[in-house]
Amino acid sequence: MVVMGRPDDSELVRRARGGDGDAFGVLVDRYMRAAYAVALSVTGSHEDAEDAAQESFMVALQKLEECRSPERFAGWLLTIVRNRSRNLVRRESLRDTDEVPASARSRAPTPDRETERSELRGRLAEALDALPQAQREIVLLHDLEGWKHREIAERLEIPAGTVRSHLHFARKALRDALDESPVRKVGEERA
């Protein structure tokens, strides 16, 4: 089904199964940010989230026939992202015995403003790390990717009330963690 020239996921999945690169490209455009947000919620690291999200698109393409309900492609893809991210974290935890601080895992610092922002990202990542996985994922999908409660509920196949509840508690925890931190001040300045 195509609505106003915007093909729905099931149509795009059907075409991608036949090797249509344009259709697969639209799916990538549509969900790359959400995939990154979910991967980030699991790994807590930009580089790992990027790797996991990109790998997940490859896995999804290779296993497209296993997507039984193409209209629910988003939820299926994000499950792959979550699993790939967990595998990545598991592999890295086996490989790295030394704990790397979240601030150090962020991108390389540069002078002045970028250094400050890198530090803020580190503090924010630490605050997110303290959240339960479900809350972290939902707050990132909502606040980073911009999905609405209804969209999150449909795509993750959980009740909308649960989404609202997770979001509420996640924000409360973030507020407590970031209270009076530079992140909070920047957030208020930018708002």
Binding site: A16, R17, G18, G19, D20, G21, F24, G25, V28, D29, M32, R33, Y36, L40, H46, E50, A53, Q54, F57, M58, L61, Q62, E114, R117, L120, R121, L124, A125, V139, L140, H142, D143, L144, G146, K148, H149, R150, R164, L167, H168, R171, K172, L174, R175, L178, V183, R184, V186, G187, E188, R190, A191
Partner: protein, 138 residues
């Protein structure tokens, strides 16, 4: 403390929690500090997907597809060959082509069918003229 309201268009997503979570979260968006980030992300995914997409396109080719593809070449060729054959048949043997015939056929070639029967029939005008006719004929 400054209160910041965030919210979506559905009117149910306003949160007065004193922290503009959405604004703060943009710090985690790699596309904020690097405008080409998502283009590169997409490019990398599509580059890695190219082989698998090509494999899927190749796997999707059926016998019917192959025949259809071949038919695009074969049908015009067959039509052209048929047309050439028709022209050759219609024109008949070439004038310059060597004529092959048997001895008897060669002896009677270009003579009217009724000449010999007429010569040897009783209605011939005379034996002398019949002989002349026959000698000319043979």
């Amino acid at each position: 403390m400054k209160k910041v309201r965030t919210g979506g268009s559905d009117g149910r997503e306003n949160h007065d929690d004193g922290l503009n979570s959405r604004v703060v979260m943009t710090e985690l968006d790699p596309g904020i500090s690097d405008s080409g980030y998502w283009d590169r992300f997409r490019f990398r995914v599509m580059s890695r997907a190219a082989a698998e997409l090509a494999r899927r396109r190749a796997a999707g080719v059926t016998i019917g597809d192959v025949l259809e593809k071949w038919s695009r070449t074969l049908v015009p060729l067959a039509a052209a060959a048929a047309a050439v054959a028709l022209i050759l048949i219609w024109r008949g043997p070439s004038i310059d082509a060597p004529l092959t015939m048997g001895i008897e056929e060669a002896l009677t070639w270009d003579l009217e069918d009724e000449v010999l029967p007429t010569l040897f029939s009783g209605e011939a005008p005379g034996e002398a003229s019949a002989f002349i006719f026959a000698s000319e004929a043979f």
